[in-house]
């Protein structure tokens, strides 16, 4: 604790020293840093470019020295984060994962919740509680906390997917558990497409079932349905801040797919320029198709297919369709904010609702 007053006053200094010895801190010296008047996130807006990523991803195919259970995962480390805080935002881990033909991860489970989104390739699989889900490009997969799962690549070509997890949150909350299956038995195998067979229609459910997972009982959301939903919504309405934006839902509750992560897909139409706003909770975006532009805290980010970028908590942001349309997938910790009564939101009030541009991310 630095304190000029204490330096100038030997008695005060002695008093502070005594407090420190007794593991106490004087609130009046640290108030502003302890409880800031508005969020001061360490996470910074940042963009990871696919053209830079792909060579590194491919190099990991040769160089990564994997032990048991390890996988070729290149995690986004926010430039604002400390050494040791490996994270894209304060609460979210996001990464590119690379799976070579024939590779498989051994069965495991963890208290962190996970999603993946297939960027390249077809024929990957994730087996969740005995349900083997086949994954193709654009598919989005949910792994609820603490369920046994494995994944691998049965195809002839490499697969690249985006991983999204709440690992930084779970670790900070001292609630991280991880287990390899070891000698235990896996959950019994289910018919192929079991979870989809039960819940994929979205608005019909097996009448006899009460799902009890801490997450969606539907594990895979196929791209064709996702894109169809976006197009249908585009025909009737859009958000002034996010254009055509949809949240993936847990069909058993209508809420987010995980207690800690909301997943969204978003069409930024050609020519559209949204208004700026900000809210508590951070996000990581993946450009799924096309290209577009986002302005975050005054900095312009031009994104293309395969890029990922971060919008930190309480950062002003707006989107625009450039030459053509673009589709973004994103993960958000907004359910955490909602559950803990910490969600706040604000529209950009100055001028015409757009930020002043102060730079271009290069």
């Amino acid at each position: 604790m630095t304190d000029e007053r204490a330096a100038a006053d030997p008695e005060l200094k002695k008093f502070y020293k005594k407090m420190e010895t007794h593991h106490l801190a004087p609130l009046w010296e640290i108030m502003g840093r302890l409880a800031p008047v508005k969020p001061t996130p360490r996470a910074r807006p940042h963009l990871w470019r696919w053209k830079d990523m792909l060579p590194l991803i491919e190099e990991s195919g040769e160089r990564a020295l994997l032990g048991d259970g390890d996988r070729r995962v290149l995690g986004l480390i926010n430039p604002g984060m400390d050494e040791g805080k490996w994270a894209a935002t304060e609460t979210l881990w996001a990464a590119y994962q690379y799976i070579l033909p024939g590779e498989k991860a051994p069965p495991h489970r963890h208290s962190a919740a996970a999603i993946r989104f297939i960027i390249e390739g077809s024929g990957a699989y994730t087996t969740i509680e005995g349900d083997r889900c086949i994954l193709d490009k654009g598919d989005f997969v949910v792994t609820p906390p603490w369920v046994w799962h494995d994944h691998g690549n049965d195809s002839d070509a490499p697969i690249i997917w985006m991983d999204g997890l709440d690992i930084p949150l779970v670790r900070d909350l001292d609630a991280s558990f991880f287990e390899l299956l070891g000698d235990r038995a896996l959950p019994p195998e289910k018919p192929l497409g079991d979870s989809e067979g039960r819940y994929a229609s979205g608005h019909l459910r097996p009448a006899w079932e009460e799902p009890d997972l801490s997450g969606s009982p539907l594990f895979v959301y196929k791209w064709a349905r996702t894109e169809e939903a976006l197009r249908r919504l585009a025909a009737v309405d859009a958000s002034p801040f996010d254009d055509v934006v949809m949240e993936f839902t847990n069909p058993a509750t209508g809420g987010p797919v995980l207690a800690t992560i909301s997943c969204r897909v978003q069409l930024i139409r050609s020519g559209v320029r949204t208004l700026a706003h900000r809210h508590t909770g951070g996000a990581v975006y993946l450009a799924v198709e096309g290209s577009g532009t986002s302005v975050i805290e005054g900095m312009r980010f031009d994104w293309e297919r395969g890029d990922m970028f971060v919008v930190p908590p309480w950062a002003w942001h707006e989107h625009a369709g450039a030459g053509g349309e673009g589709i973004l997938f994103s993960i958000h910790d907004s359910p955490v904010m909602q559950s803990l009564s910490l969600y706040m939101e604000e529209a950009y009030g100055e001028g015409d609702g757009h930020q002043e541009m102060t730079g271009i991310f290069a």
Copy 2:
């Protein structure tokens, strides 16, 4: 109140007379009738045959003398119900509605919740809160309570649909309200397919919307999706009592489409014979495709496309696929039972789980 003891004892008779004068009843004389040891529904199992219905439906096209707001609706009157209790079960109204080309019902709203299921024809419409929904064969439509709606037939051929409402319940609960629009303005018109554009995918929702209807914000459930869902579920699982049975869900909650009515669709596969069970809550079934057999309280009912039949509360029932498969749509008051802590269920315990057959409904 009939009471033999009172008849034999003049003092008791006098006492009972005084009570009656003061609008009191002695519980000890009526206990068994007031609170029976198990449900004694007035509703009886009954089948309405399409081959009998169609001529009457068509005759209504000529004979019905309709006033303002009237429609050609032929309501199922349970043979066990009193005169004046127009209902299929104690809580449910079900009917065949016939709409000639060009006919339309004027805008109205009611506190009763409604669904319809298209039996014959294409190109009918229902407009709900400004959202004009086009209805084809097999489509299922939800009208939440107290929303403005109208409907009509813009096609060249007659339409026949099934109506399902909770009118008997709402009337018995003294909560029936009905209004014609009159001079008021209708809700503003929305783009065609508005509700479907927002919610039809089932597992994606407009990220900015919190629906506040007393029922599903998705108004139309198209047959193609319904049938696809049934087929997919059939590939992975089924209920021992109902074979491949799905509940239509409110995408905003994952629960039933209405607070008072659960809607289901059910595939009875060829050769399958389900086990018998019973539960509180009654139901009306419509045979949508094919044929099959249901045994209700020991009576066998053979059903074919277009037939409707009633399973009363606490009645043993089981289903079987006859020569080919059959698809049933049904409405249930089970959400009422669940909400009021009155749901009870029992599997048939004797023999092999099947009822002894005591007759065939002719």
Copy 3:
């Protein structure tokens, strides 16, 4: 079905006859009666006077011929109800129960939910799931559905209490179950005051317990706390329609004590005259202390300690303190209306918010 048009038109008459044979009804002939434009309750406002009741209650002590499990219960029969519909309102049963010293009811359970409120005497008991609750004047007791219970009078003097149940609703919904214990074993006995020991404080709960009853886990609400709560609320606020009115809550949920019945206690202060309003859902009131006046559908009812009266659904009602204050206890089916999306409410809009008085109930 009466229909003048059919009488005048032989073909139409024949058509209607055919429909009747096939258990069908033409909606266009019955619409107004089936789905009225506003509630048309059969229940009428009515008052049962303590001075008339007490002699009859006491006479029941001599004359009632009780079989096994019978009790001296004098049920309020609404003058608007049909023979055979023994009820105070469409959904509620209310009664005076009289228990002589030493009498006990054998253990039983029913799917109907019950409350009682002690009008006279002390030292009665109800044993619910092994928890023997001692009941004194003013105490209010909840019996959730389908739990084993018995009750009796261990004191030297007769006890009179008010019974309130949802029997008419449960019977109409075909969900009535009733069992005497017979040879089965009772739930194990618990320490005296078990439920109160856990939940009586209202805002502290045993930290390890998740109650799972279909009703409040607190069975007894003692009068001293009830009165204290009324007085404290009176010091800070009141309702314009009901003066100082409180709802008893389930401490595990903050909601009503039963899924079907809301219980309230209400202080009408001397000199206060409330505004009139109406809402769906009916109620039975018991005057607990003092006296007062209620105007229901234009009819004035003067009530005194021990009187009970009915406010039917959608009936205008307002209250006034006469010479002194009065305290009312009441049971309402409002949770049914809320759960089923049927709650509607309206303030009296004409004049000064008070009804025109059209008569005095004598």
Copy 4:
């Protein structure tokens, strides 16, 4: 990132360097630290002794140099926490606050949720949304997030209370907001005891009100009721792990008083020795009365009135009554664990359910 393999392999080292340049980290090198197999909390068990605290608290009365809005608050800094992470556990801030006669804190609000518990003195007050609550020894006060409040000491003697807030959590989640009232108007003043008048009974609520705070609408929980509840529960039941332990509840929901903090009070009876268990989520305890012993991760902590101590997440802990009984008040982040599906719990399985003692905290 330290990596021996990279040090030995120049190509790998180059690859890792490139990743770092692009703000990427190889998961296979950090997996164990990123997502540990079980929680590795930085927070350590620790005890702050009243006999050490009181002189420092009193010295703060002389020495603290307070600016506008500052208060004499001595925060517990967990010895396991980094410099700059001022916190008792990863999520909780706890402190002794000292208010001299006549002192007052200016009106403010913050997104952090707060409680206080009065250790010494009477006649303090907290005004929350216009409701001035008078606070005496043993009283417990809730301040929901983002409501205007102030507090002060109107008595003639100093007041000492315990502060508990979720500041570390809220700051880490980048959701900290803080405002002084400045020139804005305060919420209108309410009658003295407004919140208690409405909700203090715990099981009666104003029938017309739907509270909408992100926390309990009852702001003060008086000691007399708290102690009475403990004694009544002690007469009927107790937890094997925590003896007589109760959670303060939000009377509007039956759940915890805040979305992020559960508050408990706990009687450890003389002679009782509880079993050990552990769970996710951390806690800070205040000894309110008497004395007792807690064993945390094998270390014995003897506590007396006024002491505070920390039980970190996933730490084994058990309690014992020493010579006499002791009462503990405690704050827990368990609602966070529950809301985010991260709650896990384990009973100590070895031996007789008690930890081996490895030391005594001196």
